[in-house]
């Protein structure tokens, strides 16, 4: 498991019904591409987060599949239309099967 992985998300605390809000996420991770050589001249094995899934009150909003071309400490911003108060759940899946999670609440109305 990659060390020191820390997810951060920015979701507005409040929104009007039907408003389209911007969500920004950042997760600290080396995103080792598998093509870089270490000090010993050997290839460092690939180790990346390959999937990010976002749901709102259990319903899918946005999913991203990531390849090694995604930079270290992956940043992702996207939008969501909110019709009711609830909770966004963020889930990142590592190559090694580790899951990193974060949630954020929003009040609508």
């Amino acid at each position: 498991m990659a060390k020191g992985v820390k997810p951060r998300v920015r979701v507005p605390g409040k929104a009007a019904k039907g408003e389209i809000i911007e969500i920004k996420t950042l997760i600290s991770h080396n995103m080792e591409s598998g093509r870089r050589k270490g000090k010993d001249g050997k290839l460092i094995p690939r180790s990346i987060i390959n999937k990010m899934e976002v749901t709102f009150n259990g319903k899918p909003v946005f999913t991203a599949d990531w390849h090694p071309a995604i930079s270290a400490n992956p940043y992702m911003s996207f939008f969501a239309k909110v019709e009711e108060s609830g909770e966004f759940a963020f889930k990142w899946t590592d190559d090694d099967g580790s899951i990193y999670e974060k949630t954020a609440k929003i009040t609508v109305g």
Binding site: V61, A64, D65, A69, I70, S71, A72, M76, F78, A80
Partner: protein, 160 residues
């Protein structure tokens, strides 16, 4: 030697080191090319085929936000927006991003839903050198759109 002179000498040395580093990177690129080939337009087309089938993409609807020149290929900001009402029966299902000069053409696949409200997202990507970024969007009605933009990269990423 005054501090000022020492500083300028240091920066010159650093500049030389940087230049040397860039040469090594370039040399590495050549070695890589002879060993594992870099992606090209054909590989991108193949990758597109694999993901969307043999549908003919149309022009338009997609806006790519990319710098014209990226100084650091390790982290290049990329934004993509697809023109769509994003309603339950007319929305963008997925946007695939490709890079035709990286060791592998696939960059990311962004799956939207009507709950996205807006088919727009941004991230940061690695580019091994100057190349084209290709976006292919698949709509809920099965139609496919494609857009492409070149980015000039001063120092390549991908650990080359």
């Amino acid at each position: 030697m005054s501090t000022k002179q020492a500083l300028s000498a240091l920066s010159r040395r650093e500049a030389l080191l940087l230049a040397a580093g860039a040469t090594i990177v370039a040399a590495g690129g050549v070695v890589l090319k002879s060993g594992t080939a870099h992606a090209d337009q054909k590989m991108v087309d193949e990758a597109v085929m694999k993901l969307i089938g043999d549908k003919k993409p149309a022009e338009g609807k997609i806006t790519l936000e990319l710098p014209q020149i990226a100084e650091n290929g390790n982290t290049v900001p990329v934004g993509v927006t697809v023109d769509s009402p994003m309603t339950a029966d007319n929305y963008v299902k997925v946007v695939h991003l490709f890079a035709d000069g990286n060791p592998a053409p696939e960059v990311a696949s962004l799956h939207f839903t009507p709950m996205s409200g807006k088919a727009s997202a941004s991230t940061r990507i690695r580019l091994a050198g100057t190349q084209n970024i290709v976006a292919v969007a698949e709509m809920s009605d099965g139609s496919v759109f494609r857009a492409q933009q070149e980015v000039k990269v001063t120092i390549g990423g991908c650990g080359g």
